[in-house]
């Protein structure tokens, strides 16, 4: 694995852009300083949003042997922070700033059995792993979950390559994944790698824990960009600093606090490390915890939150029906 996470920035040229599913663009890149991407790796990309440069992470779907050709795929998410909209404007011949491949989601060679689980565009992190497991003749099942077939990228290619090792669940065909059944099929020697919406990953983690399987065998990657609820605009207040800021749908609470002049501590910006933790003093609404740093117990207690990814919602119960028409949730916090 020999993972390295030193960011080496370089220019890359867009070689080809192609639509591979509803709202999903396949983007082929030619980096100036090629390095082969191992399965599970991603690149960071500088995206331009309203004239500002921001960093986004995208899984490497394919890499040529020498790394001269890297493929990512991006889903247009109108309600997200704007990076995907920028990526969808790219055309062949455009250049952009990217890192060499980085690795936070290494595939371990040598497990007895593998389950690869992809939800929606999460397939981008899984495609390369599946290809390697097939070439190693490993015992694996690739489970691919989506809303509808038209929204599922690479489906035909995956079917061709993986045949019976591929199991597809499609919501609008009434074949939605039953997480408990999937996890019941896992044994003590099974490693499960997943990438998908946080609802799916939370459900898998719960089922995995209930079956008392070995937690280190459950591998996942989150880029902190999905929640249990659609993003809403909300208000954050820091009384000690006299800050009251609006957090728009496409902004994170951390970014809004930085914009308002708060000196914030953070690191991963994807809800893993816990450094951006803020203390909740008062809450009008509820928290959509989008991190993997807190345990379920801690998230439920709602005393703290990871402000890099988690958000306020109006519904006090979290149920959609309880969403308040009167307007935004208000989170009053203190920061370190």
């Amino acid at each position: 694995m020999a993972a390295t996470n030193i960011e080496v920035w370089q220019r890359a040229t867009v070689a080809e852009v192609r639509n591979v599913a509803q709202g999903i663009q396949r983007i082929e890149l030619e980096p100036e300083q090629p390095k082969r991407a191992e399965p599970g790796s991603h690149i960071d990309v500088n995206v331009v949003i309203e004239g500002n440069v921001q960093k986004r992470s995208y899984s490497v779907v394919e890499s040529s042997e020498d790394g001269r050709r890297l493929v990512i795929s991006v889903m247009k998410a109108p309600q997200s922070r704007g990076g995907s909209l920028y990526m969808h404007t790219l055309q062949a011949g455009d250049t952009l700033e990217i890192t060499q491949p980085l690795q936070n989601f290494p595939l371990r060679v040598g497990a007895e059995r593998y389950i690869l689980l992809a939800g929606g565009v999460g397939i981008t992190a899984i495609v390369n792993m599946a290809r390697v497991l097939k070439s190693l003749r490993a015992d694996y099942t690739l489970v691919y979950v989506g809303r509808s077939r038209t929204a599922m990228a690479y489906l035909a290619e995956l079917q061709e390559l993986h045949g019976e090792n591929l199991v597809v669940h499609v919501d609008d065909e009434g074949t939605a994944l039953k997480v408990d059944e999937l996890i019941a099929s896992a044994g003590l020697d099974t490693e499960l790698y997943m990438c998908g919406p946080i609802r799916l990953m939370d459900a898998v983690r719960r089922a995995w824990t209930e079956r008392e399987l070995d937690l280190p065998n459950l591998r996942y990657e989150t880029f902190g960009n999905s929640g249990w609820y659609d993003p809403e605009e909300f208000i954050v207040k820091v009384p000690r600093l006299g800050i009251e800021a609006k957090v728009g749908q496409g902004r994170s609470m951390l970014e809004a606090l930085e914009d308002a002049g708060a000196d914030m501590m953070f690191d991963c910006r994807k809800g893993e490390c816990g450094l951006c933790e803020v203390r909740i003093l008062e809450l009008d609404g509820a928290i959509d915890h989008r991190d993997v740093f807190y345990s379920e117990r801690q998230q439920h207690a709602a005393e703290k939150m990871c402000c890099c990814v988690s958000r306020g919602i109006t519904s006090k119960t979290g149920a959609k029906a309880d969403a308040s028409p009167d307007g935004p949730a208000v989170i009053t916090i203190d920061v370190s």
Partner: protein, 364 residues
């Protein structure tokens, strides 16, 4: 990884090492429940055994603040605990416990390197793990075969690993470096034959009807008490990429058919050598001397080990001095002699491996 400029003459003075290869990390008995550290191919590696006795090789740097895991302790069934903040990893390098939080950061892993235990050694693969096929472990079967007995040691050699390979691929130096034990003038007077394929190089040398040097006379007398007379002596050096060399050595009573295949009137040993690069200018040189006669004699095992220890001590001093001279004369090149034929094929096979890994530019 730095791309080193290749020279068409195949004489890089400091040759890089392939990463897609099995290297010996340690003798099997060195790896225990108490973690140890060894730098292999420029990468510090923590080695330990699980409760079940399985050897484990992890990057010797905690994910968190890079403290050496080898200073920590083994914990539970297969874990190791960082000595600094107590983070625990399992044998796959995955964090299983993190201080002061209820969850584990999913990114928290340290590289876990593929391991094979074979021929009394623990082998590790530092390159692409998807290519780590155990069948690629170099053949050193004499180490564990019931038809052979012997033992060996490790030399920490202060030189680029290639200098050791050069040393072993051309035994002409025995005449000058090892004059009191195995050296004799017939070495540089006799002809040798070099052959190679994609992965191996063989150098064969026969010296017929000569006096046995002291080391071999003693061995002959161990098998044939009171032996006197001329011998036929052979050295068949077999290299297997990237850094294992077995040397089939021996002497037989002159004219009894050894060159034709009948070695019954002689003594046969195998000098087992496998070299693991440590840094660009140092290496771990694992050697053993195996024999196929008087298998029951621990005395002979010890005598041979001690004898070879003395011989290799002479090489060690020469290799260190050579590396120092290379570094002190950066503007001087290597030149090659006819006797370097074996060593030059070794260099070419290694350079091909480096090119395949994209770590050596091909010369135009």
């Amino acid at each position: 990884m730095t791309v080193v400029q290749s020279q068409s003459s195949t004489t890089n003075k400091v040759l890089g090492h392939p990463l897609n290869a099995w290297y010996v990390a340690a003798w099997d008995h060195e790896v225990t429940r108490k973690p140890m550290s060894r730098r292999i191919a420029n990468r510090p590696v923590a080695l330990y055994r699980t409760e079940d006795g399985k050897a484990v090789a992890l990057a010797d740097a905690c994910w968190h603040r890079l403290a050496p895991l080898s200073m920590g302790k083994t914990i539970g069934k297969d874990g190791i605990q960082c000595p600094y903040h107590g983070i625990v990893y399992n044998s796959a390098g995955r964090c299983v416990s993190m201080p002061a939080q209820e969850t584990i950061n999913p990114s928290a892993t340290v590289p876990s390197f593929p391991v094979v235990e074979r021929y009394r050694y623990v082998w590790v693969w530092l390159g692409d793990p998807t290519m780590a096929d155990p069948d690629l472990v170099p053949d050193m079967h004499q180490m564990t075969s019931p038809e052979w007995a012997g033992d060996g040691e490790t030399i920490h050699a202060d030189c680029n690993y290639q200098l050791v390979l050069d040393n072993l691929m051309d035994l002409t130096h025995e005449e000058f470096v090892h004059s009191s034990s195995i050296g004799q003038e017939e070495l540089s007077e006799s002809d040798f034959v070099v052959s190679h394929d994609g992965n191996t190089v063989t150098v064969t040398r026969w010296m017929l009807n000569i006096d046995a040097p002291p080391f071999w006379l003693k061995n002959m007398r161990d098998k044939f008490p009171g032996f006197e007379g001329k011998v036929d002596r052979w050295q068949i050096i077999r290299f297997e990429a990237p850094s294992t060399i077995r040397i089939d050595v021996g002497v037989a009573k002159a004219g009894t058919g050894a060159p034709e295949g009948d070695r019954s009137q002689g003594v046969n040993g195998y000098v087992m050598n496998t070299i693991t690069p440590e840094t660009d200018r140092s290496c771990h040189y694992f050697w053993a001397f195996m024999r196929n006669y008087r298998l029951e004699s621990q005395l002979i095992t010890t005598q041979l080990r001690n004898g070879v220890h003395g011989v290799f001590g002479e090489d060690e001093a020469m290799l260190k001095a050579q590396q120092e001279a290379i570094d002190a004369n950066p503007d001087y090149e290597f030149y090659n002699l006819n006797i370097d034929g074996g060593g030059m094929w070794v260099r070419r096979l290694i350079e091909r491996m480096l090119v395949a890994e994209g770590r050596l530019a091909t010369s135009a």
